[in-house]
């Protein structure tokens, strides 16, 4: 059997990927996560002294915390298996990436295990997040000093 033949057979046997179903699942679960986030925002606005502008930070912190607890309990993995990108793209996916990497490195000790593994995945998010934020701020600064937009 040559490689081409093998590939043909392999493609025949492999069940088709349910793209539409996966996208729908991701859409629904991602939407539910965002709805929960919106609810938490309103909670902070109504019961505490937060405004639309300031409630965002507190909401993100809360969502990440919830995701971290769920990851520690092993529940976020189940959600991730079901929803895929729907659970990874919202900010909760960040919390999951940090904690799951830390749990993975636990057996190698605190410093070389947990410490060095913790930001294995999330490190690139932080790096490119900070990097792109810097460049966008720079562009805005230039536009403001040229008088095109206001702060």
């Amino acid at each position: 059997m040559d490689p081409q033949e093998y590939q043909q057979i392999e493609q025949k046997i492999t069940p088709p990927t349910p793209y539409f179903k996966n996208a729908l699942k991701a859409f629904l679960v991602g939407g539910i996560i965002c709805t929960i986030g919106q609810a938490i925002t309103y909670l902070y606005i109504i019961f505490f002294d937060f405004t639309d502008k300031t409630a965002g930070n507190a909401t993100v912190a809360t969502m990440v915390f919830i995701a971290m607890v769920l990851t520690g309990l092993g529940l976020y993995r189940k959600l991730g298996a079901f929803a895929g990108a729907g659970s990874a793209v919202p900010v909760t996916g960040f919390g999951n990436a940090v904690v799951s990497a830390a749990i993975e490195g636990r057996t190698e000790g605190w410093v070389l295990g947990v410490g060095s593994n913790m930001f294995k995945l999330a490190g690139s998010v932080i790096l490119f997040g900070v990097g792109s934020a810097f460049f966008i701020a720079l562009i805005k600064l230039i536009l403001v000093s040229m008088g095109v937009v206001e702060w």
């Binding site: 309103y42 606005i45 109504i46 002294d49 937060f50 405004t51 639309d52 502008k53 300031t54 409630a55």
Partner: protein, 133 residues
Amino acid sequence: MKKLVALFFVPLFLIGCSNEQTIEISGVSTDEVKKVEIEDMIRNSKEVYSGTAIMVNNELLVAIQVKPWLGFKEQKVEKKLQKEIEEKYPDLDVLVSSDYKMHWETQKLLEEGDSTKVTEEVKKLKSLAKEET
């Protein structure tokens, strides 16, 4: 079952269609003419679906809620209204805000009768609006 679900969603879609503006103004120690004029000003900005104005002494707090689909214009509407009111009443200390917090708190202040409490609350809200962090 499908029909039941559809029936459940119908009112949700219809609610979005209502075109009415709800504008409420409450003021302690203010004349009626000003009230009517400010109400007209808020009513004239078409993007606003809900406006609440609280007047105490020479402080005016206007909380507006911009229609959901026009959310990206929120700040422009806010600034426009603020400028309009400031030009008409230079002696008033005006703050126009599209923040949900302002909307929520001013709705509560509408029923508040104690004027000192209202004054304090308005001051607190104005300082909250300035907070950046």
